[in-house]
Symmetry: C2
Subunit: 456 residues, 2 copies
Amino acid sequence: MSSIADELTSALGPGKVVQDPAVLAAYAVDQAPVLDYQQPLAVVFAESVPDVQAAVRSCAARRVPIVARGAGTGVSGGAHATEGSVVLSLERMNRILDLNPDDETAVVEPGVVNADLNDAAARHGLMFAPDPASFTISTIGGNVATNAGGLRCAKYGVTRDSVLALDVVLADGSLIHTGHQTFKGVAGYDLTGLFVGSEGTLGIVVGATVRLKYLPREVHTIAAFYPDFRQAAAGVLAVGKARVQPAIMELLDGGSLVQLDEIHGSDLAGRGASLLLVQTDGFGAAAEADVVRDVLAAGGAVVTTEASEEAEHLVDMRRNSRGVEVDDQYRVGEDVAVPRSRLVDYVAALESLAETHEVRLKVVAHAGDGNLHPTFWVDRVNDLADAEAAARLNKALDASIAVALDMGGTITGEHGIGQYKLRWLSLEQPEPIRELQRRLKELFDPAGILNPGKAI
Amino acid sequence: MSSIADELTSALGPGKVVQDPAVLAAYAVDQAPVLDYQQPLAVVFAESVPDVQAAVRSCAARRVPIVARGAGTGVSGGAHATEGSVVLSLERMNRILDLNPDDETAVVEPGVVNADLNDAAARHGLMFAPDPASFTISTIGGNVATNAGGLRCAKYGVTRDSVLALDVVLADGSLIHTGHQTFKGVAGYDLTGLFVGSEGTLGIVVGATVRLKYLPREVHTIAAFYPDFRQAAAGVLAVGKARVQPAIMELLDGGSLVQLDEIHGSDLAGRGASLLLVQTDGFGAAAEADVVRDVLAAGGAVVTTEASEEAEHLVDMRRNSRGVEVDDQYRVGEDVAVPRSRLVDYVAALESLAETHEVRLKVVAHAGDGNLHPTFWVDRVNDLADAEAAARLNKALDASIAVALDMGGTITGEHGIGQYKLRWLSLEQPEPIRELQRRLKELFDPAGILNPGKAI
Ligand SMILES: Cc1cc2nc3c(=O)[nH]c(=O)nc-3n(C[C@H](O)[C@H](O)[C@H](O)COP(=O)(O)OP(=O)(O)OC[C@H]3O[C@@H](n4cnc5c(N)ncnc54)[C@H](O)[C@@H]3O)c2cc1C
Ligand SMILES: Cc1cc2nc3c(=O)[nH]c(=O)nc-3n(C[C@H](O)[C@H](O)[C@H](O)COP(=O)(O)OP(=O)(O)OC[C@H]3O[C@@H](n4cnc5c(N)ncnc54)[C@H](O)[C@@H]3O)c2cc1C
């Protein structure tokens, strides 16, 4: 019998199916910790919808698992290869097929990079609102499949809110079109919403019609330095109580400031133990910024009064704050969200957890949404100490999740369950909900070939 | 064997199961045209989640269809009783269980009236954004089940965008909780979104956790009168091109103005053949209103320059423009949506259709979303002429739907398919999509007792 790679090659034609070990290794994992490293059998670089259909059909015939992949920037292991799988890269399907400035919509292939769509939209005074910090590299297909959030989603919504319609290749290789080209539409069930955030387990997204929003003409950015982290978190609530809706509210703790200083040679840590970055936009940006400045100063912040250029630079630094770090068993970035009123409590709990378990901690948060990314890590010394440190790290992680859930939170605000967060899913979702999802999965993918072992 | 009504009474206790003919008649239909009048076997007035569970279990045991009902303001027949069914009214479950101004969320029973939640939220400077024109009477459960839109959803989103979590009684009487209490959350599939807009066919919504948005402090309203309808529709696009996002953009044609004049004794029709009402809100409201006024005046409108009080009054009149009309076979209100760029073409097509088929026409539109509500009607004369007129009406309806679909539109922007719009659904959705939905329905409701014959 021919190998699956041979069969894929004969089905798709030359240059699209790769088995070079370096490529297999590069496409075996995303940016999440690796629990069970598996090299894929092949990587397929689809160039068209029929390519995707042919690949799915070939894999379906042999029950070979297919792992869809955008840019591989996921941090939950959603794009990790699993045993005996084929990785299906959508990166070559990167054309913006239509951008209609009057309809305020765009139709894109899944491999279009978020920043490329935003550049194209900006020429018309429009933007694709979801802006994960990975926006310069992550793909629209990946954003859709994870329901990505970002910095400005407190005001502009998450990916779900910008997706009108999808083209999806199902587990049997058939192609469907869900949703509507109009801003609103309620005919039948929300299939589009079901595929958004399904992490490649229900179908392969091969096209998306997205709604674009208006690029704000005016932007004001405020940097507020605080003597401690909890006070900064309280600042987030104070802005809310003033009933001002900023586009961006990013919270950084002392550890994050130290890290930015190391990367950029700045001296942020010298200016405070925590930083709250607030950006207002639109026609009311200046008036909103005035209110925000007053409110934050009243809460103990040292607020930039100068023009917002420096603060904007800080937002850019924040967008890149993850740097080149990739998580592993000694460093894990989390993605919990808590109800807004619990932000201060949660931040306090994180600090005390890090102390109890003797692990290092830094936190950045999309604070307007109550979505926090604590990173726990341990310094490596030698094998023996490392194993013990990794165990402490895991205790801290588990505890941070438990506290978030206790406060009415979720284990994942935007990164998805992927493979890595499965261990906590049953703490958040009781069995009947999990069972319902298993049955949905079975309905869409009875043979279980689409990204098995992920998301649910 | 005892009757289903007896069984329900013994399961739920006294005072909750009604068979009084007047009540049966009142709860047999919503506000849509009636294709197949059916009197329900009984009306159940549930007062608690266990009541709903007991009712569903009793009906399930006998395979009696259950039609969930909020306020019965639906205009697609979603709440019409079907043969041998029990109507399950949620109107007594009308408590706001929690309203947390710091979390900016509320937890409500399904029978809470939209306006009551908004009143409660307003006391904290908050609002429940979805505002169907029926907001003073329709329920949150009904809004959720239809994914209701409204006037301000171009800026603030439809009901889906404000729902974080749901409590749902499934077809077997079990209770599940979907979603998350946080603004963001991506654990597993979007079950919440699947129930939103499912018109009571997948489960009974017995509780909702909703996100509240900030009540804007400043509101500017602009009334722009135009010499013809198409020019007014072009005004909508012009505002978009100026990249201003109003909260409200309502478009009314001449027929609607005449009707408002008849109800209110005003003289709107004397001021123009079409009216575009634009409301900007928030900190930038005044600046946005200035841009809007300039843009509309440049497009040929006579724009109110005075304070916006009069225009606000017009928005209130618009909210009530449906008046006490209930659709029947001689008068049908439609709910199409088209891509924004096609608004002018579509409005022109409607006018010519009305002429061709010799039917009367008036149109109001949530124009910012491209969502139009044309109402076609015929004057009644005598039985013979009426039958012929009803046939013309149906031709006009069918043609208006076909044209909307041709332009890339949908047959329902916000009202839902219900029972009445089923006849057009296959024109919008091909068989594979319909089949997928049937299978979803079967997964959730294998015996088919939840609002059969609706929505899909
Ligand atoms: C520096 C950095 C910053 C980040 N910041 C954010 C942030 O602010 N907000 C946020 O939400 N995330 C963030 N992320 C996580 C990640 O970038 C997002 O999840 C992003 O949406 C993934 O896109 P991708 O193209 O890289 O997808 P991948 O990582 O390749 O895939 C992600 C998941 O989607 C599936 N998938 C990908 N494409 C398709 C498709 N076409 N059809 C079906 N399934 C598909 C994969 O199987 C996998 O399960 C960040 C990551 C990094 C490294
Ligand atoms: C004057 C007027 C103006 C309107 N304006 C708008 C508008 O601007 N935008 C808009 O979107 N709609 C509008 N509508 C339509 C209607 O008001 C909405 O669809 C509304 O959401 C229905 O709410 P309801 O409580 O009356 O639900 P009902 O009419 O009782 O039910 C509607 C559907 O939802 C189901 N349902 C109700 N409650 C539940 C529940 N708890 N669980 C499960 N299923 C349930 C029913 O079975 C039915 O299928 C208008 C109607 C009128 C009469």
